[in-house]
Symmetry: C2
Subunit: 339 residues, 2 copies
């Protein structure tokens, strides 16, 4: 006895339904699984018994017999203890969850504990899930990506380590950053800085590359670079360092909105005005973009859709349908008052 079960009236088994309906278990199983070749009359009778007895199929037994679990895992790195605080992550998971709700798949969140890596590995390889979704980008986080015997997998963002055979959904970070930076240039800004993100993950790397391409394409030097870790505080600190290096900076591109919001506090505390003295562009178009004053001009990308797409592709793969290896989501520039 593992817990108080008073008042418990467990769901009947398939066998009990069969008895009640006066058919074999096989027939009940067929009705439950919508197998075409069943006498409509029998279908009716069985379904009646099912509702009368309040039968709920046992997913565990079903999995054992069918070798499919009908559940998929979402793996997130523990290292990023801020994963949940990151609106990007939250939105991806939301998209995944929303799509799966419309399917018969169940969502398993697994924290890739660094202290117990074998736990994650065992879970993923133990036949507990039909597929895996990975929302991390750190180098090294994909240690299980190329394991033989692993179920189908779809990544959020391009993999860092080769991974020619990986399936993933991403936004074109470099292109979007390029466009955002060009906006600043078009508005006449000439002394551009960037608060880049961690250089061990694609969004950090590619957004910096896009910024650099635009800046250097305009014949300017891309030297005003400071690195943050995508958090609010790191944005504020990076802005400090930038202004300490060059007070004449007239535009900043931040690799995400949280860091942009952090930069705001630094800029404004130095008596500088946004956008008059310093124009700011962010990336993500999340809640932070709206909560700051003046509201932030930022790169919008469909994060929830990205999550949905990941789930969609994974389910396609699981069920044997063809699927694109790489899907790129479109971005757009949301113009507000910070430029």
């Amino acid at each position: 006895m593992t817990h108080d079960t008073s008042g418990t009236r467990p769901s009947p088994t398939l066998e009990m339904v069969a008895a009640h309906a006066g058919v074999s278990r096989a027939t009940v199983s067929r009705v439950v699984n919508d197998t075409p070749s069943v006498d409509p009359e029998l279908v009716r009778i069985v379904q009646k018994s099912i509702t009368e007895l309040n039968y709920i199929p046992n997913r565990v037994a079903r999995s054992l017999a069918s070798r499919r679990t009908n559940s998929i895992a979402v793996v997130v790195p523990e290292s990023t203890s801020k994963v949940f605080a990151d609106p990007f992550f939250a939105s991806v998971v939301e998209g995944i969850a929303l799509h799966l709700t419309e399917t018969d798949y169940t969502l398993n969140m697994v924290i890739a504990s660094e202290s117990r890596p074998e736990k994650t590995r065992g879970f993923l390889l133990g036949g507990n899930v039909d597929g895996v979704l990975v929302v991390s980008h750190h180098i090294g986080d994909h240690s299980w990506t190329h394991l033989s015997g692993a179920p189908p997998m779809v990544l959020a963002g391009r993999p860092l380590d080769g991974g020619e055979d990986s399936y993933y959904v991403e936004v074109d970070n470099a292109q979007a950053a390029f466009g955002a930076t060009n906006l600043l240039l078009e508005r006449g800004r000439r002394n551009l800085a960037i608060i880049a993100g961690r250089q061990d993950m694609p969004p950090g790397i590619d957004r910096l590359a896009g910024w650099r391409a635009a800046v250097e394409g305009a014949g300017l030097t891309g030297e005003l670079v400071e690195i943050g870790d995508f958090t609010f505080d790191s944005g504020a600190a990076a802005m400090q360092r930038l202004l300490d290096r060059d007070v004449t900076i007239d535009a900043v591109f931040a690799a995400n909105d949280q860091m942009a919001a952090g930069a705001y506090t630094t800029i404004q505390s130095r008596g500088l005005s946004i956008p008059d003295d310093v124009a700011v562009v962010g990336f993500d178009d999340d809640a932070f973009a709206l909560s700051v004053t003046p509201q932030l001009t930022t790169v919008h990308h469909p994060i929830v859709e990205l999550g949905k797409k990941m789930a969609e592709i994974l389910v396609d793969r699981i069920e044997g349908r063809p699927a694109e290896r790489v899907t790129r989501m479109a971005t757009s520039l949301t113009l507000r008052d910070s430029v």
Copy 2:
């Protein structure tokens, strides 16, 4: 064939390990489950075989036989499409996940789809999980709370509908709101308003009650009440209505930081100063409190801890250990610059 399995080398079964080790399956099972009464020498031999063959126990088969799934469900309402955007929710889930990582339990996120309620119900009652965590507060969302046959459950926040027998973890919303409001009174504010939250959930109801108690306790009339839905925009709108009613408001208590941040934009766009003209106090102490200018004075509560506690209590119940029915987390006032 459901998907490409080239290169797959499935984990061996318990039986294969038994053969390899020259013992019976029962013995291997005992070793795997740390059953005390096994010859140390055999334990060694079996463990050797396990690592050599790279054996991973099949959780599904284990569940079927043992009638325990080693996984718990976190139920979130679909209605709140903003659940994931809500830092509170994210932190609770983070806490839950963090605690479960240290146990052998797995986390199942289930969206309580309103269009397919039977799916949620079936999942929860189908023996798929050993316990349930509910992070919603809406009236009606607990329709499955009192189902017989349901596994142990722990709620975030007090249940709205009686539920004398429920287990839950909460913060004392009324008490905290009372304290926050008293701070405003102590600072000499006399024309207090509140942007309350939805009145169909405890945080909305109780924080309003706390505010009212403090205001009326000071001999003032608690009439300046506007209701929001915990979102940024609703906070801005509510502040509009308040100022339209009475421009001499000198203090506002918002039921969460997001609404407080929304109120900021309204207040400042009317040319009023925070805190000189209007003092503001929020609730949650999340990222929004830091991203606004001036930084927000707000009620801090240990949300991640709350999640951890929920998971801890649920696991205790599942494993038959005694547990408190109601746990109340302490709050504190984080003083910043908005008062």
